[in-house]
Structures are given as structure tokens and as C-alpha cells.
């Protein structure tokens, strides 16, 4: 019988740990997530069902330590040139069960990209935060706070808007930053986050990228408030809320990379985020393939399994063809993010633009082809028990977050056609 493992994985460059990682995650997913995931939607507020598998994965297996250097108790992934390719496999396996979990897992590492990657490792901050994540078997979450009420895309649109719309302010007072502002939507908030990287401006209204500051804040610092989790169309396993910062004081050395570099390395968030999104799409599609296969084998039409109808087979083929193509594009994207010697640095605007293009194409294709699969399954396509609708609901957001669809288009056009005013 064919399985999801028969879809092509580019064997010539998957990480050496790929097989091992794959089996650890597959096993965890089957035992800890699959049996419960159909009840996750109603668990969005409390994470009673969602938290225990996270505790196992992050705390007990220790995946939350992954990005920290080995001498600080981590696994040194931040220094590996397989970081993204390995992450792709992990993301795929988690997303096969639940994209919300995959997003929450990925977002946990976002804040650390600024300080854990070469050549801009910030040793002092790594030493400061490593114990929080490496010396516990509890799940510990981190969040990257960019989006604000007036808009998320503009903050990510650094090349053109250059941070001029950021309203969260950071003012240096002696050897402390004083932070004030209101963020929306960071993944892993709603009370979960223990550590946040906050995108601030040191000079409101300025379009000088040196005024963009990424500053770390532990959530027990006085003045930090996380609101209750939002209720969303899907993605229950990713908790999001408002976060308020009111005269929050942190040491001055809690700034990630420094003037100019905080803005520059923001690009790393974008390229790895785009890679992650393709991995989540690919993982979800694996599971849809599994469920769809069961459906078309079991359901009969004109006395034969549904899959034996030529018209139905046309839709099935389209779905499989999309998995093949999206997965290969995704692994290629991961490899481009890993091999700086071949493809340039992770923050390079060209790399960001290319990964944006790959990601929005994959996402658009996913939406279209999965919509057709749901329709093919008729009333069962909208049925929670068949899981396809869950992936459809969950994944829609990947078109909207972290550089919405139009920002992806604009950045792609800007780079490939050298537009200057877009």
C-alpha cells in the first residue's frame, strides 16, 4: 500500500538526522496528538488537551533546547547548516496532525534567531535565557511580538515602511530600556509566553532602520500583560492574544543585535517563516492525502471504490501532483535557507523575496486544491471526523500571517522587477 512516505523527499540533501527526527516526531504525533486533535478547537482557551503533548515534546524530549549552543545545554542547531532542512521535517510531521501546534512550535524559536545564529550570535543573551529553556522538563514558550493594532504587514514591510509605523516605543533610561506599547496576535501568548522579543521603535515615526529595536522581555517583568486567547476560525493550538507593555523596564543589553542590525536580521524571521509555512502546508497535505485515500477507497460510486471513477481520479491526481511539487519546492526553500555559501545570507532581501514567492504560491495552490478535495467529499468534506476541513480552516491563516498575501506579492515584484516605489 502506498503511504505518505512514497512522496518524493529530495534525498540528496535532507539532513543526516532526517530519518531519526522523522521517526521520533511521527511516533509522538501518533501517540500524543492524533487521538486528541479533533477536540482541540474547543480547547483554544485552556489548552487542557493541547498542553500535555507540548510538555512531552518541548520539555521532556527537550526540543525547546534545540537552538541553544551545546555548551549552554542546547543542541547547537543555531550553528548547523542543516537547521532549516531538519526543521522542515519536524514541521511537516507536526503539521500532519495539527498545524496550530506546528506554528506554535516554530514560533517558539523565532525570538532566538536574532541571537542564536552566526555571525551575529549574542552570547550574553543566550547565556541569560538558555537556563529558562534548557534546565527544565516543563514546556516553555517564547513569542515574537511584531503586529500592532494599526497593522502587521507594515511592520514587516521594512524595506519601504522602514519601521515608521511602529508605535511600541523603547526609551533608554540610564542602563535600562523603558517599553510602552500594545501588540496583537503573537503566537504563544494568551498567558503562555515566558519570554518575548518585542519589535519597538526608539524614535516614533522615524524611517531610519537603526531606530527599529528588538528587545527581550520576560513576561514576569512588571508592566507586561497578556490578554485572554482570541477565538479564531481554526489554529486552536496556537494561542494568540493582546500584549500590553506599560513602563516595562529591562536591562539595556536586552536589545538583540543593535542599531541597524535588528532591522537587517529581521529578514531571517521572514525567510525561515516562509520555509516553515511551506513545511506546514506539506505536512497538512500528507494527512489530507491519508484521509482522502481512506475516503475514496471506502466510499462506493457506481459499484466501485470512488477512486476508480475517472473524473474523481482527476481531482485525486491534482492533489497528489500538488503535494509532489509543493514538497520539493519546500525542501529546496529550506536548503536555500541553510546553504548561505550557495544562496547568500538568510536575511538577504533576494532570499526573502524568493522564499516569499515560493510560500505564497504553495499556499494559494493548497487552498485551491484542498477546496476541491473537500467538495469532492461532499458532506463529509465539512465533517470534523474526516479531518480535511480542519486543515483547510487551520491553514488559511498561513496566507495572512507573517507577510500577508499582498505583501508577499509586492516583495516578490519589488525584487524581481526592481520596483522602487511599491
Amino acid at each position: 500500500m502506498r503511504t505518505i512516505d512514497d512522496f518524493t523527499r529530495p534525498l540528496e540533501y535532507v539532513s543526516p538526522m532526517d530519518g531519526l527526527l522523522g521517526s521520533i516526531f511521527r511516533d509522538w504525533v501518533e501517540r500524543e496528538v492524533m487521538p486528541y486533535r479533533r477536540r482541540f478547537d474547543e480547547d483554544y482557551r485552556d489548552h487542557r488537551l493541547i498542553h500535555p503533548p507540548f510538555k512531552k515534546l518541548l520539555g521532556e524530549y527537550g526540543l525547546q533546547r534545540m537552538i541553544f549552543p551545546e555548551d549552554l545545554g542546547g543542541w547547537g542547531m543555531g550553528r548547523s547548516n542543516y537547521m532549516c532542512t531538519a526543521a522542515f521535517r519536524m514541521f511537516e510531521e507536526i503539521a500532519r496532525a495539527d498545524t496550530g501546534m506546528a506554528l506554535a512550535f516554530g514560533a517558539l524559536f523565532w525570538p532566538f534567531l536574532f541571537i542564536a545564529l552566526e555571525p551575529h550570535e549574542n552570547r550574553r543573551l543566550l547565556e541569560e535565557f538558555a537556563p529558562m529553556f534548557c534546565e527544565t522538563t516543563e514546556a516553555v514558550f517564547a513569542a515574537l511580538c511584531m503586529t500592532e493594532p494599526q497593522g502587521g504587514s507594515d511592520i514587516e514591510n521594512i524595506e519601504i515602511v522602514k519601521g515608521s509605523t511602529i508605535r511600541t516605543t523603547a526609551v533608554l533610561d540610564g542602563d535600562e530600556w523603558v517599553i510602552n506599547g500594545h501588540k496583537l496576535w503573537p503566537s504563544n501568548t494568551g498567558g503562555l509566553a515566558k519570554l518575548m522579543a518585542v519589535v519597538c521603535t526608539t524614535n516614533p515615526g522615524s524611517d531610519d532602520p537603526r531606530d527599529i529595536a528588538v528587545i527581550y522581555v520576560t513576561s514576569d517583568t512588571p508592566g507586561v500583560t497578556q490578554g485572554p486567547p482570541y477565538e479564531k476560525a481554526g489554529m486552536a493550538a496556537d494561542m494568540n492574544s493582546d500584549v500590553w507593555f506599560e513602563n516595562v523596564r529591562v536591562p539595556s543589553w536586552y536589545r538583540a543585535c543593535g542599531p541597524g542590525d535588528d532591522a537587517k536580521y529581521f529578514g531571517e524571521i521572514m525567510s525561515t517563516g516562509n520555509m516553515g509555512i511551506i513545511a506546514w502546508i506539506s505536512g497538512a497535505m500528507m494527512n489530507i492525502y491519508e484521509r482522502l485515500t481512506e475516503f475514496v477507497n471506502r466510499k462506493k460510486f457506481r459499484g466501485l471504490p470512488l477512486k476508480e471513477n475517472d473524473a474523481v481520479a482527476g481531482v485525486l491526481a491534482d492533489f497528489a501532483a500538488h503535494i509532489e511539487a509543493i514538497r520539493i519546492v519546500g525542501y529546496q526553500c529550506a536548503r536555500m535557507c541553510d546553504r548561505h555559501d550557495l544562496y547568500g545570507p538568510l536575511w538577504d532581501p533576494g532570499l526573502v523575496a524568493k522564499t516569499r514567492a515560493q510560500r505564497y504560491l504553495a499556499m494559494d495552490r493548497f487552498i485551491e486544491v484542498t477546496g476541491r478535495v473537500m467538495n469532492l467529499m461532499e458532506c463529509f468534506g465539512a465533517d470534523r471526523d474526516w479531518d480535511v476541513e480542519k486543515h483547510w480552516r487551520d491553514l488559511k491563516i498561513l496566507q495572512l500571517v507573517e507577510g500577508s498575501k499582498q505583501l508577499c506579492q509586492i516583495e516578490t515584484a519589488r525584487w524581481f522587477y526592481e520596483c522602487t516605489t511599491l
Binding site: R38, D41, T147, Q150, G151, G152, S153, D154, N157, I160, V161, S164, T165, W185, Y230, E231, K232, A233, G234, M235, R298, K299, K300, F301, R302, G303, L304, L306, N309, A311, V312, G314, V315, I367, G371, R372, M374, N375, L376, M377, E378, C379, F380, G381, A382, D383, R384, D385, E389, W392, R393, K396, I397, Q399, L400, V401, S404, K405, Q406, I410
Partner: protein
Amino acid sequence: MNDLELFPYPKNRLQKTDLDLAASLQDLVQKEIVDKRLELKEDYQGLLRPNLDKLLVEVGLQRMFWPEDLGGEEHNGPEAAYTVAAALEQVGRADTGLAYLAAHNLALQAALAMRENLDREACARFAPLFCDGRGPMIVSFILPVFGEDEKAPAWRGKSFQVKARSASGGWVLEGKGIRPTCSGADATLFGAWCAVEGEEAPAFILVPGDAPGLSRGPEFKKTGLAASRNADLDLSGVEVPAENCLFRGDLEYRRLLSWFYLGITATTVGGLLAAYQILKEWGDNRVIKGTGNIFKENPLTGALMGEIAQDISMSRLLAYDLAGMLADPSSFGDAGSDMVYTSALMIVHQVLATAERALHRTMELMASAGYAKEWQLERYWRDLKTVQCYVGSHELAKHDFSRWFYGARTL
């Protein structure tokens, strides 16, 4: 100008009563549903059920077609198609699920009580249920679906979910794990297209929700349509009188479906109009690309908004085109004729596919606000996708189109 009037429709062909009904429904649903849902969300008992009662009983949608002497309003000429379109658009704008339920009710009335094919006996038997003011008639259909057993009797390849046999002046019905088109948990009347033991012609049989032998499974979770609390059913030796069989022929069955598809098309247009109103507010106020750039004035997002409006406009015109076909049988033929049925099926699929695209784009334009329940947009996206799934596979519907246009016979 009322912003819904921006989208053209053949106003000249609607009667004053249709326009008045639409206007009063627009006010009613605004007050009773739209204004209350921020607080009540999709609460069935608190918001949806009371409004279902209001629409069917107080407004009287469930009395529309029945003869006056049986308590109905006898608005049962083919021109009622315009009334159905105008009314369900308004209901669908407030809640797609409620309109979807009303579409079931109105299609059944049209099948039984249309002036041209009025079945007096059946009307006398069933009209009181709809007209005596006792409560809402929640109508649900049981139609053929993909089966699990290759030998199960089939209709155009799909398996009948109910088997009927005639016995001592009545019918005995059997079926397990039946998936109805809506409201398995609440329906007061099911209309089932059944295979008949030992006979070629299927039968459309009405089964009261409280018939002994009918059992309902637990409500199951689905993508949207909170107003339709669906559950699978078992029918075990359910006996109904002979008169509960409303018809045996494909013509009548297709007639029912053509009216059903009109209702669903109008429901869908309603959802699209709601999405328009939500996006309009967003586009008027959101600023992107730094300060001073109003969303709707950005060339890229402005163009997409334009495209969405185009999709909505075309869908509305198609809905009223379908109403026009049903309203004029002397020009287009019986509602159950191949041509009208095929057109109805094409239009409902076209409009639902267009709605899917338009809702996706509206969600994209509103980004995280589109995804958050608070903005009330995502429910239309979920609801309309659910409706599309329940209407059935587009792939297989296309075979019906080929039967009509190319004379395919074995598809």
C-alpha cells in the same frame, strides 16, 4: 442609497410585495441577528433558534405557498421564485445557516403546493403542520450519497440512504447511519428520496421527526452552518402512511431540487453581501503602507476589492436569472425539465465556487481580522464552504451538464 442596492438585480421583475418583504426582512435581521451576534456569536439556543422560529412562523416563510383555505398565503405561482430569492438573500446576509434551513422548507412547499402542480391531498395533509402556528417546521432532506456497499441500490451512481417497501397501505422505511442535508438533531420533517424494494422508480417520502423507529445520533461537528445542528439518523422499521409518498418520478424530484438550488443560490448571495459590507467598513478605515494610505485606495488591494464586488454582482445576477427561469415556465419549461434543472445545478455550483473565491479573498484582505471570530467574517467563509460540500461534488455535477449539453448517457 441602501448599500445592497449597489449590486444590480432585476428589480423591475419583482413585485412590490417582494420588495416590501425584502425591506422588512433587512430591518428585522439587522436588529435581531446582526446587531446581537457580537455578544451571542453562533449560539443556537440564544440566537439562531429563536430567529428561525421568527422567520418561519412570525414572518411566515413556512406558510408562503400553501393554499389560503389551508391557512397558507397561497403565494404559489411560479413568480414566487423572485420572492424566495429576495427573502433568502436577506436572511442569508444575516446568517447563512438560517437561510439554508429556510431554503429546505421553501423547496418542499414549492414541490407540493405550486399552483400548476398542486397536490391537493398532500396539501391538506401537510399544510396544517406548517400553517397552524404551532412552531417552526424544520425540514431536512435525505438524498443519495457515496455508499459503503457496492451492492446498495443507487441513483445516478450514488447510494440511496433509505430503503422503502410498501406494506398494508403504507410504507416501511429502513436505513442506517443516514446523513441528512441539515438539522439531523432538530428536524421536524424529513423528505427522503428512497429506493423502493422490488421496483425501479424511487419514492420521495416524508418522515415526521417523531416517527417511531427514527433515532438520531449525537450532533456532530462540522465546518460551519451552526444553525443546522446535524446528526446521523437510523430508521428502523419506520412506518408512514401511503400518502406520505409525494412522488415517484425524476421530474418531480428535479423540480424540488431546482427550487432548492434557487434557495441555496440566494442564501449564498446573501453571505456574499454580508462579506461585502464587512470588507467595505474595513477598506474605508484601514491604513496600509505607512500613514495616510487608505486601504481601498491602494492599487493592489483596491483592485482585489473590485474583483470581489464583481464576483458578488455576477452571482446576484445569476441568482435572479435562475429565479427568472423558474418564474416563467412557459418560456423555459417545467422546473423539473432537464434544461431548467441543469441550469439550476450549474448556477448553484457557479455561485458557490465564486463565493468560495470571493470569501477567500475577503479573508485575505482582512488578514488577522478576517480570521478572528470577532469580526464576523470567517463564519460566512466556513458556512458557504459547508453549503458547497452539502450541495455535492462539482465533479459529478459536471456529468449532469454533459448529459444535457453533449448527450452523454453512461456518465
